[in-house]
Amino acid sequence: MGTLKTAIDAVLKQLIIVVMGVLLLDVIWQVATRFVLNNPSSFTDELARYLLVWLSLLAGAYALGQRLHLSIDLFANRFSRKTELWLDNLVQLLMFIFSFSVLIIGGSRLVWITLYLDQTSAALKVPLGYVYTVVPLSGLIMCFYCLFFMVQNVRDIRKGTSHIDKQNPGDIIT
């Protein structure tokens, strides 16, 4: 499971870099066509919007895998290591439920409906269903990360160790 996580991390990271790069070029092109060429491009605005959707959902999943999301650890820090790990399991479970029911189930339904009803975007004319596939995709990745952390927590509880750094919860002790 650990190697699978490393692989997903690496692929996701590359993907986010590419999306961010394309987004940057797209916005530069938009400004250039508007003010330099004086003939605004019609698709850049829409492309930027959909790239931002992809970027935020994928990077959100990535940040979950790196434990980079904001969290209030005021109470968690005061508990014993074991309780802290159980508490983290609860948090992971809640995130799992959300990702599974809202992102995977709800997202798949959204993709299916928009593809079935043939909805297309205004400027690029791409089926919106393809744009929305990122919702179940990111949900799937988030679910995997949550499961991964839960398994790791249980292992740590058994062994009496912890992979969560007390001083700096964003860092994972490897």
Partner: protein, 324 residues
């Protein structure tokens, strides 16, 4: 483990509350307009009629001002069944049901009388029903007047004046095509960003009907309003087919009738609002120009040639042009 088990009721609750919407006899109506807008007032009128005639059995709850989402989001919510009724510009519907493209063709209507004959006749009804394949059914059309150009620095007298001007358009293929055929550079931009864009010179002008020009206060930053009336895209009131099919025959009739009556009522409100808006912008120092429409009409001829053999709207276009 106890902590995990104790979560189950919470999860169940989430699932149950997510499902209960469908059997609710109250229909949710969401739209993007302000409560002072004639269309909102007509919807209130409609909901009163519906409640009165169904003896309170059927109720419509109105959520104005984008509370439930923007026009496009509202249509998506409506297809899922989360929102029952919404009002959208027919341009928004182009991306959902292709027949609506026909109303976006410039100068497709000869005058207001022709327009109402089309919309209230068989052609309008056919387009409303075409939406059913895409899970929404049209109830009626609301008058949205006709759209004209307004510019910041240079008055537009003929299509040649549009040359090189950046004109903000809606997110719609037909609107972009219309502006580029007339010689301008179409710039798709969100309506909410337009005031600043005009002020800072991101765009040189935009196009809309008089009440929108006035209510958005864009007249403060654009001093010329050219009434060339290039398009007259109607607003459409649509209902989700999930909700529509769950209504009894009697309720369907009550709702349909109330919608049509509210459309009649809206026409008079709209005419008043247009006249008021035009007077107000003139007072604010905007130069209102009434140009000769013929050169504009001649310039968009290629759009007609392009749609002539279109499988979806070619026939519709011909029917509209042939109608008296």
């Amino acid at each position: 483990m106890k902590a995990l088990l104790s979560l189950f009721p919470v999860y169940l609750l989430l699932v149950i509350s997510g499902c209960s919407g469908a059997s609710n006899p109250t229909i949710k109506l969401g739209h993007a307009l302000d409560t002072s807008h004639p269309v909102h007032k007509s919807m209130v009128y409609m909901s009163e009629l519906v409640e009165q005639r169904s003896n309170g059995e059927l109720k419509i709850e109105i959520y104005p001002s984008q509370q439930l989402g923007t026009e496009r989001e509202l249509v998506e919510l409506l297809q899922i069944g989360s929102v029952g009724i919404t009002k959208v510009a027919s341009t928004t519907l182009e991306n959902f049901a292709p027949s609506y493209q026909v109303f976006g063709i410039p100068f497709i209507f000869r005058d207001d009388e022709h327009r109402f004959n089309v919309l209230e006749g068989a052609i309008g009804q056919q387009v409303l029903e075409d939406g059913e394949d895409y899970w929404f059914r049209g109830l009626c059309y609301y008058d949205a007047g006709s759209r004209s150009f307004y510019t910041k620095e240079k008055p537009v007298m003929t299509p040649d004046d549009l040359d090189g001007l950046k004109i903000r358009v809606m997110e719609s293929r037909s609107a972009m095509e219309m502006v580029s055929t007339l010689g301008g550079s179409p710039t798709p931009l969100a309506w909410g960003e337009l005031y600043t864009a005009l002020q800072q010179g991101v765009v040189d002008g935009a196009e809309n009907n008089a009440p929108s020009f006035y209510l958005s206060r864009h007249y403060e930053v654009s001093k010329y309003y050219t009434i060339n009336q290039h398009t007259a895209v109607p607003d459409v009131l649509i209902i989700s087919t999930h909700i529509w099919n769950s209504l009894s025959e009697e309720h369907k009739q009550i709702l349909q009738q109330a919608a049509l009556e509210s459309a009649e009522y809206q026409k008079t409100l709209w005419a008043e609002a247009s006249a008021e808006a035009l007077a107000a912008v003139k007072e604010a120092g905007v130069e209102v120009i009434y140009p000769d429409k013929t050169p504009f009409q001649e310039k968009v001829a290629p759009i007609y040639q392009k749609y002539e053999n279109d499988p979806v709207i070619g026939d519709l276009m011909k029917q509209i042009l042939e109608l008296e």
